[in-house]
Point group: C3
Chain length 469, copies 3
């Protein structure tokens, strides 16, 4: 017997192979159809159970049979029936006993309190093993091929493993999310609409409205009220173009502010083992979104700026200037200061935009996956601070000496570029403070697990060692 094991397995295989590979689906909706097609493509034998099998035979290339048939022949049965109609499955209780039921249903709305559909199903079929899963995969991605992962929960380890294996063979990546009691969370997942983006987007909008009104008052309303000049044509482009960089710079500072807060909090508490306050925790998780909003504003600012010389209004102004100086014989002198100011702030601005683009590209999930943690933090933290510094210098060069010209304080309000510089200055100063050697060393100690309270306890015994560290 040269290969007894293999031979044995072959026989064994042919017998149990079919049983292992039969999968039942109860329900005949879109999801059911896509699921059946995908399972067949992955080499499974699919039995679709319907209350009116004849009606659906033409729609399914797979075998459509009665519900009881599908339930009794398969070991894994997908429940693809609306949760409201789960009661109609009660007759199958006997046939489904001991089987693995996969509940693929979603909630109708985001729900804070249970019980979840899966828990209700488990109550209805106490002798079956309910696994929640596949609900985060859409019918569309079932059809188009592997796209996202499936998240599973369930109480029975074996049932869950068999469902995960099935999922894996279909080309999806299963993620075990624990016990069935977590099913509510999974049922809510497909109902969310960018929850992590809500606050950053609303914040961006609020900042935009605030700065737009501020600039409108300063640049359009003030000249109209005091001098009767009609600058309302500036509203669609020029005012927007002054507003966008303000929003971008403030948002970029808000990306780096919470990290500073956390560092100073740790320094003050003298430990890293105390939880941050909730607002800080949430702020820390929003940094990526804030950064991308800032990037969007910067890019729009660049495009708006590049549009400026192409406008009819810019042309008219130019023409009028020329005609004025020709008629009056006034010579237009080359103002070296103005030239240098503009060349410099344009150049620095482009470089800041270039750095921000690198940050944005590294935020793409597929790029972030290919860099290690050290590279990720180098780009996001070191290059990010460089971008913030560049953007601050861009604004400073734009402001030049105009902060000291009283005419810029229209309606006694400081010019926008001055207002906008406060936050980045604070952040950059805070960052510099953390670079002071003694502060930096203490923070490093704390982040390695050192604690002030313990330190005090041990100080009497070994003070020198603590200092050496």
């Amino acid at each position: 017997m040269p290969r007894p094991l293999t031979t044995h397995t072959h026989t064994h295989n042919t017998q149990t192979q079919k049983g292992e590979r039969v999968v039942g689906i109860l329900g005949t909706g879109d999801f059911s159809r896509s699921l059946a097609r995908r399972l067949v493509a992955s080499g499974y034998i699919v039995l679709v159970g319907s209350r009116t099998p004849k009606r659906f035979v033409s729609l399914f290339p797979e075998e459509v049979t009665s519900q009881i048939d599908a339930a009794s022949q398969a070991d894994i049965v997908f429940i693809a029936v609306c949760p409201e109609h789960h009661s109609t499955l009660s007759d199958l209780k006997q046939a489904l006993a001991g089987k693995t039921l996969v509940d693929v249903s979603n909630g109708l709305r985001i729900s804070q309190y249970g019980p979840s559909n899966a828990e209700l199903l488990a109550d209805r079929f106490p002798e079956s093993w309910v696994v929640k899963g596949f609900n985060t995969i859409s019918a569309w991605s079932l059809q188009m091929g592997p796209r996202d992962g499936s998240k599973q929960v369930g109480d029975n380890s074996k049932a869950k493993i068999s469902v995960m294996e099935l999922c894996r063979r279909m080309g999806f990546i299963p993620v075990d999310m624990g016990l069935l009691s977590s099913s509510l969370e999974i049922e809510n997942l497909p109902l969310y609409l960018f929850p992590s983006w809500r606050v950053p987007v609303l914040g961006t909008l609020a900042l935009f409205i605030f700065f737009y009104l501020y600039n409108f008052i300063q640049d359009i309303l003030q000249p109209y009220v005091t001098a009767g000049k009609n600058f309302f044509y500036k509203m669609p482009i020029e005012t927007v173009n002054v507003t966008l960089p303000s929003v971008a710079l403030v948002l970029l500072s808000l990306v780096y502010l919470p990290g500073l807060c956390a560092a100073f909090l740790q320094l003050w508490l003298g430990t890293k083992y105390k939880r941050f306050p909730d607002w800080l925790d949430q702020w820390l998780t929003m940094r990526k979104q804030l950064g991308l909003c800032s990037f969007l504003c910067s890019v729009l600012h660049a495009i708006y700026s590049l549009c400026l010389p192409m406008r009819k209004s810019a042309r008219y102004e130019l023409l009028n200037n020329i005609l004025l100086s020709v008629n009056d014989g006034v010579e237009i002198s080359w103002d070296d200061e103005k030239v240098w100011r503009m060349e410099l702030y344009l150049s620095v601005g482009i470089m800041a935009l270039g750095l921000l683009s690198l940050l944005a590209i590294t935020s793409l999930p597929s790029v972030a996956n290919t860099v290690n943690w050290r590279e990720f933090s180098f780009v996001q933290s070191t290059l990010g601070y460089c971008a913030l510094a560049m953007a601050t210098i861009h604004t400073l060069l734009f402001g030049w000496n105009r902060a000291f010209i009283p005419a810029q304080y229209r309606f006694f309000l400081p010019p926008t570029f001055l207002l906008v510089l406060i936050l980045p200055f604070l952040v950059l100063l805070g960052r510099l403070a953390l670079l002071v050697p003694c502060v930096a060393q203490r923070l490093r100690q704390i982040r390695r697990g050192w604690e002030k309270s313990h330190h005090i306890r041990f100080t009497l015994v070994k003070p020198l060692q603590a200092i050496k560290n």
Copy 2:
């Protein structure tokens, strides 16, 4: 015996471990080399079988041996020999019996009819289990590390599972694609050249050529023929820049038109259980590609537009205008209407481009993977329609009142912006029609599985309930 199971497994392991981990490769080409290197990196013992082992020993860091040796010592044997030379393997029939053969070959050209290489191999070795796979992985990605997934087919479940496990340990994601009869499809996969892009790209080109000629006739030929004006210098930039947004707008409408057609078809048929005609099905799958082509045209349009004021021709025109008005003493009056028109259409255009960028970013596979279905359809449908509306307004503002000026109808042809607006107007009107409450409700019912024919049957019994739904 505190841990009998573990101890037992240890012994057992050491005995069978080697057998399990020996993999044979027949063939010594590039793919064979990369595969061997990767398998060794994943902890397998690799035996490379060659007809002239001595010649290749220096090229392979792994053991190179005779084909019969490699075939008899391993349970899984990769067949990395050109399909034309499969006949040379006939001597190994005995040694390969009961083994799992992995056919990694590709077709030479896309073939509609079988038999596939894998099926021919299975015929040649009827006592072995042939699994088709690894052919969609390139030698390059075997070397560079996990990149894409491998697709497998095969008739024997156990053989397939062991190959998939091997594949998984190498860091690739295996996808079971069913029985060996599907192997032809898998062999064709690496030969395709953007099949889903062919129609969209050709359509874009056709639209581009049509609109380019149309604009050429109107803007360059007509002035030349009727007034002898030489505007041919406009061909590389200005004409292209009028053509690109036309193409972009038409393509964007074509993205949303098939969805509307599908909805109206469902409303008319009164069911979602009838298949769409083939052209509609194919059109629906092309929406992403059409959208990205539209985005590309929009971005190019933006860059071309921004280049306009930098051209020498723009400068000469400006200078001549000025000299004319200086010499003639004509005053250039500030035309408020022209100013507002330009400021508005620029601003709306930039916003439309910003929205389209969001759509494009969400089309990236890695970003699409991180959003759920609701978020995806919010971006692609809601934001997409906003972008279409914006782009339409941009074109309307650009047109302004010029549709009513007879001089714009050169050669009696309507101006381009008028021609281009027809399709987006139709789409937007169709979309608005679907928002009318009674239509929207009926569509919702149909998409939940309601059917007109059934409805009619049941109407006599419970008409009120149907209305309440």
Copy 3:
């Protein structure tokens, strides 16, 4: 007994289920906390072992117990203790015997020579099975959910498989990297800082500095020295904007040069079975990075160019030109040649940029994953050469006839555009040479495995067949 197997498995399951699912973690740092949270989320029972369990009970939602307890109850034990403190674990030797230890530690600095932390640990616990892994996953991505894969090595197959299974259930993709002797490489992985980018970025910087100085001397220093003209204001934008496209074009040629070298080397050696010299191998792996650096320079060049007309200096120049011609009565004539030159090189430049963008997008990992090898090489090679040709034409059109004007040779140095054209011309000529039928055929033969030496040997026997091929 209708379902004996299933019933049996159920009982069996409930008994062993707990044992299988208990995982121990020694150490209470950040990584330990994130790991514990993730394991619990994936349905495992986690025992955290600490020397001072009471102190950490509040920080861990999981059970914190003594080290000996955690070590003896679990089959898989994570060693999340600093490598320096591995000695403190010596007491657990007995309890850990026969268990699978997962060493998650990183090196402190990149190390060329062993032994690795994992090997030291294996020496310390000779009766346990050490698997190295999870060190490439950061605490952050453990918390945020599956992001990147884990790479494992280990000497014991069973231990490694159980760790990989655990890893997979947590939603990560494990990659088996071979025996424990490879652990040093894995420990170094998280310490790298863009190793593949170092040479391309430094090369880009060097090229930038060289061309910047070259342009500075030609465009700013020469007029200042010879004519006393102050053009220093051109430094931030105009000089940068001439430098960037030079760097971009040279880098793009450097992307395609190594492929040509390889092809000519293969032609010369008459075989593909000889290894390339090391410098060529390394150059070939850098092509993607060089291409992306080239793309970045091109995009910056585009933005800088678009900024040109908006600058104050451009305005002053324009105004002075006008005033001069008005006062002197000089007419500014429309120079058709200048107009055409500019329209053409702008248009070609935009198209080159468009093609480069397609190349850059296809370099994104997630996009590269969705295309097959043929599509990838079509974009990167065919479209890439088109982009190179376009960029070369853009430069030629920019240069126009100025290469023949002696005034352009300031300080007897050739103008930049001439210097920059050498390399792309060489590359394009080399590529054309490879398209000559007889050369192309020979190269195709070599790449299919044909060898000159063998050929000579066989020529005498079957010369005709060789020619037919």
